[in-house]
Amino acid sequence: MTHRNGTRQLDVQALARVEGEGALHVTITDGELTTVELNIYEPPRFFEAFLRGRSYTEPPDITARICGICPVAYQMSSCLAIEDACGVVVDGQLAALRHILYCGEWIESHVLHIYMLHAPDFLGYAGAIAMAQDHRGIVERGLRLKKLGNRLLEVIGGRAIHPINVRVGGFYRVPTVSELAELVPELEWARQAALDTVEWVAGFPMPDYEGDWDLLALAGEDHYPFMGSRIGSVSGRAQFSVPQFSAHVHEEHVAHSTALHGRLDTGEYAVGPLARYSLNQALLPPLARAAAADAGLRGECRNPFKSIIVRAVEVVAACEEALRLIGEYSPPSEPAVPVMPRSGVGHGASEAPRGLLYHRYEIDSEGIITSATIVPPTSQNQRAIEHDLAHVVEANLDLDDETLTARCEQTIRNYDPCISCSTHFLDLRVVRL
């Protein structure tokens, strides 16, 4: 932080408690905010480039390695896209197993973020380990919840980070009824612990602020959306099917970031828990819906600071959904449906914990990938994050640098930015700056 000729500069060189690498630069000149830059300096890893020439069976394993915190999101969006290209629909119990697996990832990722990354901001700690000195019981509850999420990933996926059991068409081996039934007692505990989590975070001091851009998410049909085919926005202005994604969302490459910035043709937008909730809250399972109401959430939630409450509500929903699906489970006769390659284009989208994740592949008649596009949530949110930051800085110019910097970091963490994810996409329509 430097003060020079009436210019005040806030710099956070390495953001903590985000997954990946980012920095923040804010310049205030003569009491006026002049620039806000969220700088993503995560080195590019070029997934979309080296996916070309790979087999259509490989994206679930390869794209999982984009993010260790949400590998299942990458596996699901890629499977859906490849299956779409090959004209296959995976449904019934195989789809239910994918759904349970995804519930495990939501629980693991959301709980990590709520307890270890974000709550310390609201309560004034450097991290969960420092927080545990004063709130050990609460941190232990979070760790046990996270472990349960990981347990679901291990039983269905083979391991928690980069599950090995996911394939195009389904799985290599499906669990037995009793393997899943063994998870039920801990899931029942987790459902209650998640309800307690909602109550805990709803009591945090919430800065007053509402974002004014559109919110984009999958539009669920019968259930709160994890995987789906239609995309909607809270304003109602954007309504399209998944294959239309790249016709509506454009990405720009700016100098201060190795992540591209997303822009919707109808205006600025953000993805993530607020978008999912605002668009689909009527589809939440009963306990999650009641918990949201008790926490003071209404039909729409536009305060990004309250995303921590929505995440907690979604943990309740994930526990309820997993329990429902396990109760209805009967093992499918085959672990996967056959998927034969054919030349074509496929699109897939699912709700990663951080928001909408879109994949598109072109494959040839031998099943070799000729083009790949991946649009992760954090890149879509980068512009909204910068907007929020500008607002927060302008509204709090009277705070000292240290407090203001902490508030800025909290603002960034509202989006649980996964910076590792956002550093690679391509094949977009680019608007030059």
């Binding site: 903590a16 408690r17 590019p44 080296f50 090995i164 970091e409």
Partner: protein
């Protein structure tokens, strides 16, 4: 090293964060570990950082930019013991596929403004740049092995982990061999032990995410794979994943594309 409580730092280079997440996934041990050491730098977990020197540095990720080279040299100077964890840090990771290609073309495919991107033409392991005291394999690492390695160094001992193959772990676990029983191509015989042979237990062939085993010949094994109904291209692809740049995997016999070059900035 005067501190009574050891100072531990966790560093990230090009990676997916999965290996350092393994540490946070030690739900049962995390608070105990955090009580026994001073976590002096672990940005994924805490915004509080303490300046070096460090008793133990844990490094995730590969070296892929010019500034990475300087940063790892500095970390080495500040660290008494330095261990690298995961396929990215020990072999260059999946992002080392650029080592077999033209990185300039990669940049132009992914980015609208290649002039904004600064990257090396290669992704390389930490040990190509500084001395490393221990390398823990896996994509991702096995969290129990990670705890074992950390506690060994903190107690001043050498970690003791098997250097055999996944095949040996499969036998120990009593899994029927997927190659013998179903003719499924499996890299278990040439892949480093450590995962506990997860894939064959799920009716899947090992795809080598722990990298090459220390003492086996990939050449003989590739001949064996060729006897299965698997194309040469598919064989090449399975070695060209998360440990593509590891010696033993990178020069697969019969492959047209060998790894190239040493680090070179492209912009």
């Amino acid at each position: 090293m005067t501190a009574a409580v050891p100072k531990v730092a966790v560093w990230k280079f090009a990676s997916c964060d999965g290996c350092q997440l393994s540490l946070l996934d030690c739900e049962d041990e995390l608070l105990a570990v955090a009580g026994a050491v001073e976590l002096a730098h672990f940005l994924e977990a805490s915004s509080a950082t303490v300046a070096g020197p460090y008793d133990l540095s844990i490094v995730e990720g590969s070296v892929s930019t010019a500034s990475d080279i300087e940063r790892i040299a500095h970390i080495r100077e500040e660290s008494n013991v330095l261990i690298s964890i995961g396929a990215c840090a020990t072999a260059g990771g999946i992002q080392a596929l650029r080592n077999f290609a033209d990185v300039g073309e990669y940049v132009s495919v992914v980015y609208a403004r290649p002039d904004y991107i600064e990257t090396l033409s290669t992704s390389t392991p930490i040990s190509d740049h500084v001395a490393v005291d221990y390398e823990l394999r896996g994509c991702p690492v096995n969290k129990s092995q990670l705890l074992h390695v950390i506690s060994s160094f903190l107690l001043g001992r050498r970690p003791r982990l098997p250097s055999s193959s996944v095949c040996v772990e499969c036998k120990a676990r009593g899994t029927t061999c997927v190659m013998v029983a179903h003719g499924t191509a499996c890299l278990g015989p040439v892949t480093h032990a450590g995962c506990g042979a997860i894939c064959p237990a799920f009716d899947r062939g090992c795809y080598g995410c722990y990298g090459p085993a220390d003492t086996v010949s990939t050449t003989a094994f590739v001949q064996l794979l060729r006897s299965l109904p698997v194309s040469d291209r598919a064989i090449e692809r399975v070695f060209r994943t998360f440990n593509a740049n590891a010696p033993g995997f990178r020069d697969i016999p019969g492959s047209e594309h060998a790894a190239v070059g040493s680090p070179r900035a492209t912009s």
